[in-house]
Point group: C2
């Protein structure tokens, strides 16, 4: 079968490898119906040191069950399922509290940019989609976002405590930022300021519910958000980037007593959360989204067509074009690449 | 009148100064019935550079109204009131959301270690106590803790989201830490681990509701707390110290998806809240407690004798002995010094 492996920064190759098989009784194997390239995949695309074997890429997967280990029950071959970017048994003490990304038997998914993919902890990870959905359903892109980007944007908003009484700033106009906007709107926020400077993306953000767009960054961006909020900043900041300048902007635009909710993986070790941060009673929250825990909640709006988070996919490619897909996302020619094997 | 001023680290002097008068229509002047020395006062006691004029000390005040500006209504001369350590108008946009420590007209109280004290923003700051309470009531010490230490411990617990389903670690056995224990118990926590190594203090912590005491610190202390919690840590950590080792212990004992709630003013600028902190979905919250906002809620338990937070005062002194009181608190001979002018 075809798969995509990364050998070092900038080097993604389509290869022919054996179809994966179930190895543990808790595993499954899916035939991939749709997967995608994630903004997170661009980190190794920039930084990966040379590998002999290549890393199988792709942590967002929607597919049909091809094979299951004997411990996996309640599913049948051919079922359409979506899988979170972090597999989990969904029964350990952390999973029981909803923190599937801290599962003691969990780990990051990989190998989704392929024809077939191996799913560890299949019982806890696979989320069954309705039988009537065909492989070519127009809902597929939106359903795939439950794996990562929609659940991640929603996690930001939930951890931030967004509701109808909170004003919100979203930092970052990537797929997660745009779906954080969608999520804030879903949770009732009436003022949603999107900080981003790529007009075609922020235009989609406005369609998703952003009430204001601030393309400026740094001190200028902070001043602009404050201008829009009587000088006070917003109750919640959804930080969907992960770089220190985004952290600093978050601290600059958050209201006293407010919350900075991070879902962009921090590319820094330390951050200025000392006296001045503390002095304003700012809360810092967020982390890798336990997307499995949100699937039940987010599914209905997709099925009934109310929300269409799949609009973040602006390019669709086959497996042979995935290396080109990385290049296009890296150059910001593509917002997010959908892969149809 | 007598007041206490600090001139530099280690140098507190009793002085004779004029009785303060109302200067603005929003001011008042109180005759001090009780005040105290705060752990926070020990920071300048260690670090203050030499001053010509001396700093009037004391930010925790309970007293009777002596004089009021014309804009202060609903009170009368002689009313017994308690005042938060941070005065506030209680009407600005931040106060309206409960963040009185971010009041646009607010500031830190000072001058309470004296016979009379000047109260800015008296209307928003003074909280009237019941008429029947006499100056020598045994409730006075507990009522005084509403100004700072009880409200601060309670703020830690509230911001941490303590309830009957959360396990709690309290770091620090000073007055705030002990009252954080009391607050966690009040909010229903069933497991409360107190990290502190002064037995006479942790003994009071046990009376306040701590179920376990861990005197060890650093990695050893972290291991002990994890041992008490199936290796998982507690849902909430109430960090009542403010030093980096306490932050590091907090990160070590908090459960995945848990909350570190800080009320010890951070004596650091940056803290390690990068990838590993983020990776476990840890929330960092807390700040200077808006104690005015909690007074209504905390008063009844004191009045009916259910809770006695005033037990943190283990020494009572007159104004002449305040310099000795600083020395005793600094040497940990006293937990917290009550001042009766």
């Amino acid at each position: 079968m075809k798969t995509n492996k990364m050998y070092e920064a900038g080097d993604v190759r389509v290869e022919d490898v054996p179809v994966p098989r179930v190895q543990q009784p808790t595993d499954s194997v899916l035939r991939v119906v749709a997967s995608c390239i994630c903004g997170t995949d661009l980190h190794p695309y920039h930084n990966m040191e040379s590998h002999d074997h290549g890393e199988a890429m792709g942590h967002e997967v929607l597919g049909r069950i091809e094979e299951m280990g004997e411990d996996v029950t309640g599913f049948k071959k051919g079922d359409l399922v979506v899988v979170p970017f972090f597999y989990a048994d969904n029964t350990c003490p952390h999973c029981q509290e909803g923190w599937t990304t801290s599962c003691v038997n969990g780990g990051f998914m990989s190998g989704g940019q392929a024809e077939y993919v191996h799913i560890p902890q299949a019982q806890g990870s696979m989320f069954k989609l309705p039988d009537e959905i065909e492989d070519d359903s127009p809902l597929i892109p939106s359903l795939l976002t439950l794996s990562d980007v929609y659940g991640t944007g929603y996690h930001a908003a939930v951890m931030g405590g967004v509701n109808e009484n909170t004003t919100v700033t979203v930092i970052g106009d990537g797929a997660v930022g745009l779906l954080a906007v969608l999520s804030a709107k879903k949770l009732g926020a009436k003022k949603i300021i999107l900080m981003g400077r790529h007009k075609e993306r922020t235009d989609l953000g406005v369609e998703f519910g952003a009430t204001n767009v601030v393309p400026e960054r740094g001190e200028e961006g902070i001043a602009k958000v404050r201008e829009l909020t009587n000088g006070e900043g917003t109750h919640v900041v959804l930080e969907c980037v992960g770089l220190m300048p985004a952290f600093e902007m978050s601290a600059g635009v958050v209201r006293s007593g407010g919350v900075i909710s991070r879902v962009g993986a921090p590319q820094y070790n330390d951050a200025p959360v000392g006296a001045s941060f503390f002095g304003r009673n700012i809360t810092l929250t967020g982390g890798p989204a336990p997307t499995r825990a949100y699937m039940e909640e987010l599914l209905p709006d997709i099925l009934n067509g109310t929300l269409n988070p799949g609009r973040v996919f602006d390019v669709t490619m086959g497996l042979d074009d995935v290396p080109e897909g990385y290049r296009a996302m890296d150059n910001r020619e593509a917002l997010k690449v959908l892969i149809r094997p």
